[in-house]
């Protein structure tokens, strides 16, 4: 489990993370979404032990990460900008990581390079951006880590490779109970992969929740009545959002869907539809409830991503 308690990190005059508190359970695929400068990469670097916190604490299984080689050996961190030793190829980099990480598995490395179809002797400098990312993923997964921290790794991967990486991550989680943290500024990227999602904005966690829970706990009701009515008709429901055009109202409701539909049916509406929300819509309404505008975050929504 990765736990952050009032985690703070400053760079000169800028506070990149401002007292973040969150828990990433073991065996979970945790997504962190946020715009540029939200603090996602900073959080991952703190979790990887690259940065030292200026305030608060980040622990892995209860132990601080910074200057803790035993725990750092269990973490594989893939930065947003890949780096390889000058003039190195995949084989040389495998040697580098094998020297640093006791759990590095050459056998797994070989299997993965075959699956991705990369030439281990070709200089990494000659690889495309996408291929370098694939190389970084291979090297990370070969470390057989307990914790994988992917910083915008999916960006730059083509859909087929993305699917492959997603399946490999899932395999790691299922087989080895690994914990994966993925950051992105695209909800669509994370929707299919993550169990939990957190939204970061300006150095703080705005929203954190189970993905399934997010999608099911909030839903849209379209309802129409022949008579005049207003939102007071729906007192008793946990209304997150209410709009009315003519006789048709759109309600965003938190709660049990079946129960809510039954309650409304009693009122004998002329139209009654319960619709699921997209993740973007969920985030939009949840953030509105918290006083934020989703558009501020600059996050790519689900429709736009598609």
């Amino acid at each position: 489990m990765i736990k952050a308690e009032k985690l703070t990190k400053r760079f000169d005059d800028i506070t990149a993370l401002d007292g973040i508190t969150c828990t990433i359970p073991k065996g979970c695929v945790y997504g962190m979404v946020g715009s540029n400068g939200a603090g996602k990469s900073t959080f991952l670097r703190l979790a990887a032990g690259v940065y030292k916190p200026d305030g608060g604490l980040v622990t892995v299984d209860g132990m601080p990460i910074y200057e803790n080689p035993e725990h750092k050996a269990r973490i594989a961190y893939i930065a947003d900008e890949t780096y390889f030793l000058p003039g190195a190829n995949l084989k040389k980099m495998a040697g580098f990581y094998a020297a640093g990480y006791p759990s590095f598995c050459m056998k797994r490395f070989t299997v993965l390079t075959d699956r991705f179809g990369l030439d281990i002797k070709k200089p990494l400098g000659s690889f495309s951006k996408g291929m370098r990312r694939q190389a970084a993923v291979i090297l990370a997964l070969s470390r057989r880590a307990d914790y994988y921290l992917f910083d915008e790794t999916f960006d730059g991967l083509d859909p087929i490779v993305r699917k492959l990486v997603r399946s490999l991550i899932c395999d790691e989680v299922i087989e080895n109970n690994s914990t994966v943290v993925v950051t992105s500024h695209s909800l669509r990227e994370l929707e299919d992969t993550c169990d939990q999602l957190a939204l970061l904005h300006r150095g703080g966690v705005v929203l954190e929740s189970d993905v399934g829970n997010l999608k099911t706990s909030l839903f849209k009701i379209q309802v129409a009545f022949p008579q005049e009515y207003d939102h007071s008709l729906f007192d008793g429901l946990e209304l997150v959002h209410f709009t009315k055009r003519g006789s048709v109202s759109n309600l965003i409701v938190r709660g049990d869907r079946k129960e809510t539909v039954e309650r409304l049916r009693v009122l004998q509406p002329t139209v009654l539809d319960a619709l699921p929300l997209t993740l973007e819509e969920v985030f939009t309404y949840e953030m509105e409830a918290l006083g934020y505008a989703f558009s501020e975050t600059g996050i790519q929504g689900t429709e736009q991503a598609i």
């Binding site: 760079f11 990887a48 690259v50 961190y77 900008e81 780096y83 640093g100």
Partner: protein, 685 residues
């Protein structure tokens, strides 16, 4: 141990440095081979080679590559993505640092050892047998090379830990490598110019420039040999270790986010900026001090130019390292610090000068005096290591030293620059402290001082004694006859014993006139042959080289030498004397003859000619004279013929028993009065 070192990372470091390391090895090996061949051609007339002389390029290559190795291995700190990868490794920061640093040192040491072995091998192959490698210089020199590499690497490691761009890496490296020494050098020379009585011995050890290996080795390339001392080795070891510890701490504290930044914070950035600017300011500062000392006219334009350059450096450094024009305005207030630094430098020297000039002990305050060095034609040249341990506590010596020191101080205060002929450097022992001072004294004072110094039997004995062969090596200045090593050693040994057995008065006369003469010379009381004994010796700090011509001051040595020369020359010259022939290549000169008034005369050189009436007769006479004395010793103090064959270069020495020119001597052999200048009898009286 794992807190500070990881064998996996160390091996990885070795691998990462492979390309640089191989390049380094190849360059070292080429330099070793090149120098061996070059030295074999150009230095074959030398007698001894030190380890340093086998490859003078080696330390320079080590200095350059030590920096390259370190910058290369730690260059990940200059890029954020690289920095993230390395700092994410499961290793403590200290372990990462020391493992990689050890990899750097390993490559460096390996190269030094390989190159040194190759140099020794090259020396054995290319140098003639007459030249020997001084084996005792090998361990010290190789160790100093290793420590030099250690030193440079530690400085580079500090620079890498402090800065995050290649430009600032190099700038700070140069700053740390040179700035302290440059500051120290300018400070030292400014102080010594303002205070000529302040020798190096009065200054802190770290101010002496040869203790910085960069200055030392580059100085060696220019000025030549100077022995590495144990002090230098220990100093460098301590300094390098301290620098490495600083680098390790900085590395451990280093924030990964500092990658791509010229300095970790504004304070450090300001320190760098001010240091660079102050280096430029040293020039006008020195000039201001010189103007004060010499009362020269102050050249305002000169100061304007250099202080403008300092300002340009100040702002340019900020601009190049931060790429932010708005910072230029922000750093203006810190110029005040630069002004204070200038004032501090100039003011500091004035303060030290004032304190030193006020420190003029009387003879009563002085417990004893030790002579460190005497640069005077009176004293000859003497290894000062033995003399400086002798404490002179007689009042006369103390009075002379106190009086002359005070006189020098007064001259400095009055800005007078007329110096006497003789420079003396002393340690003055006072109650609870010792001070080193250096000043000039007149010839009269010098004689007076020497007279009182000689009252000390230890000084008299030390001053006269030449070194034993254990601590010195004896050679002949040239060997045209092809004497064997044993014959040369025999002559040198005779010389050493003969000189050590001299009475002191004779010794004083001898050393005052006995520098190497390339021709036959009568100087003072003695006849000098064109052959010298060379003595190369060393103490803990320096090498010493002296030459003493073979002369009538050392008759046993002269006898041995002349008999050997005769043995190699007699057949050829006797044959030529018996048959002068058409070629006029035999010449004769005579020394220490008597004229009719019983006064000593010498004979100018005369070329024997077959057309000369008496020449043939004289030639036969000389041949016959030689044959009679062939097995006898040759006395250089007695009348002596020197027969020289201009064609073969050979020489024959023949004593004239009765001291009078024979009747058969050709008229062209003209006797002349010799030079009979006596020197230094006043000291002995």
């Amino acid at each position: 141990m794992r807190r500070f070192f990881s064998s996996n990372l160390y091996l990885d470091g070795l691998r990462q440095l492979r390309v640089v390391g191989v390049t380094y090895l190849v360059i070292l090996m080429i330099s070793s081979i090149f120098f061996s061949v070059f030295a074999g051609i150009n230095y074959s007339s030398y007698y001894e080679f030190t380890m340093y002389q086998t490859n003078r390029f080696l330390p320079i290559i080590v200095i350059i590559f030590a920096a390259i190795f370190t910058i290369f291995i730690f260059s990940f700190m200059n890029k954020r993505n690289a920095s993230d990868v390395f700092f994410a490794l499961p290793a403590r920061r200290a372990a990462l640092f020391f493992s990689y640093f050890a990899a750097v040192l390993s490559w460096m040491i390996f190269g030094i050892i390989v190159s040194s072995l190759l140099s020794i091998l090259g020396f054995a192959v290319y140098m003639p047998d007459t030249v020997t490698l001084v084996v005792s210089t090998i361990p010290c020199t190789v160790l100093y090379y290793i420590l030099t590499g250690f030193f440079i690497s530690s400085i580079a490691a500090i620079a890498m830990s402090l800065t995050g761009t290649l430009f600032s890496n190099l700038a700070v490296f140069l700053l740390i490598a040179f700035a302290p020494r440059l500051f120290g050098l300018v400070f030292k020379y400014s102080l010594q110019d303002m205070l000529p009585i302040m020798p190096d011995e009065a200054l802190p050890y770290w101010l002496i420039e040869k203790n910085n290996p960069i200055f030392y080795f580059f100085g060696q390339l220019v000025s030549g040999l100077s022995q590495i001392t144990m002090y230098q080795i220990i100093y460098l070891l301590v300094l390098s270790t301290a620098y490495t510890a600083v680098a390790a701490v900085l590395f451990t504290c280093r924030k990964s986010e500092t990658a791509d930044k010229s300095a970790p914070n504004r304070l450090v950035q300001a320190v760098f900026r001010l240091t660079f600017s102050m280096l430029v300011c040293l020039i006008p500062c020195k000039n201001i001090l010189d103007s004060y000392r010499t009362s020269d006219h102050i050249h305002i334009f000169y100061y304007v130019v250099f202080y403008t350059i300092a300002l340009v450096v100040y702002f340019l450094y900020e601009l190049i390292t931060t790429h932010k024009v708005k910072n230029l305005l922000r750093i203006v207030p810190t110029l005040g610090v630069l002004v204070l630094m200038n004032l501090g430098f100039i003011g500091g020297i004035h303060i030290i000068r004032g304190i030193a000039l006020a420190d003029s002990p009387s003879a009563k305050d002085i417990a004893s005096v030790r002579i460190l060095d005497m640069y005077s034609s009176f004293f000859g040249y003497k290894s000062n290591n033995e003399i400086k341990n002798i404490r002179f506590d007689n009042m006369e010596v103390r009075e002379i030293i106190a009086a002359n020191l005070e006189e020098s101080i007064q001259k400095i205060k009055q800005n007078k620059h007329d110096y006497d002929d003789n420079l003396i450097k002393v340690l003055i022992d006072l109650k609870g402290r010792t001070m080193a001072r250096e000043f000039y004294i007149s010839n009269e004072e010098c004689e007076n001082l020497m007279f009182h110094l000689l009252k000390n039997p230890d000084f008299k004995n030390t001053y006269k004694t030449l070194h034993d062969t254990d601590s010195a090596n004896y050679y002949m200045s040239n060997n045209p006859y092809g004497f064997t090593e044993r014959e040369i050693a025999d002559i040198c040994d005779t010389f050493r014993r003969e000189v050590n057995d001299m009475e002191f008065d004779e010794w004083m006369k001898f050393i005052s006139t006995s520098s190497y003469h390339t021709d036959y010379v009568v100087y003072g009381e003695f006849l000098y042959l064109p052959q010298a004994i060379q003595i190369i010796s060393k103490n803990s700090e320096n090498w010493y080289f002296r030459e003493y011509s073979i002369s009538s001051a050392t008759p046993k040595t002269a006898n041995k030498y002349m008999k050997l020369v005769n043995r190699y020359s007699d057949k050829s010259i006797i044959s030529s004397l018996s048959n002068i022939g058409a070629q006029e290549h035999l010449s004769v000169r005579g020394y220490s003859f008597m004229d009719r008034n019983g006064k000593r005369v010498d004979c100018e050189s005369y070329v024997l000619s077959p057309s000369g009436q008496k020449d043939l007769e004289f030639s036969v006479y000389l041949a016959s004279l030689y044959n009679k004395q062939k097995n006898l010793d040759i006395d250089i103090t007695k009348p002596l013929w020197v027969v020289n064959d201009g064609q073969t270069g050979k020489t024959l020495y023949i004593n004239q028993p009765d001291g009078v020119l024979p009747d058969c001597a050709p008229e062209g052999i003209q006797p002349i009065a010799p030079n009979t200048i006596n020197i230094y009898t006043s000291i002995l009286n």
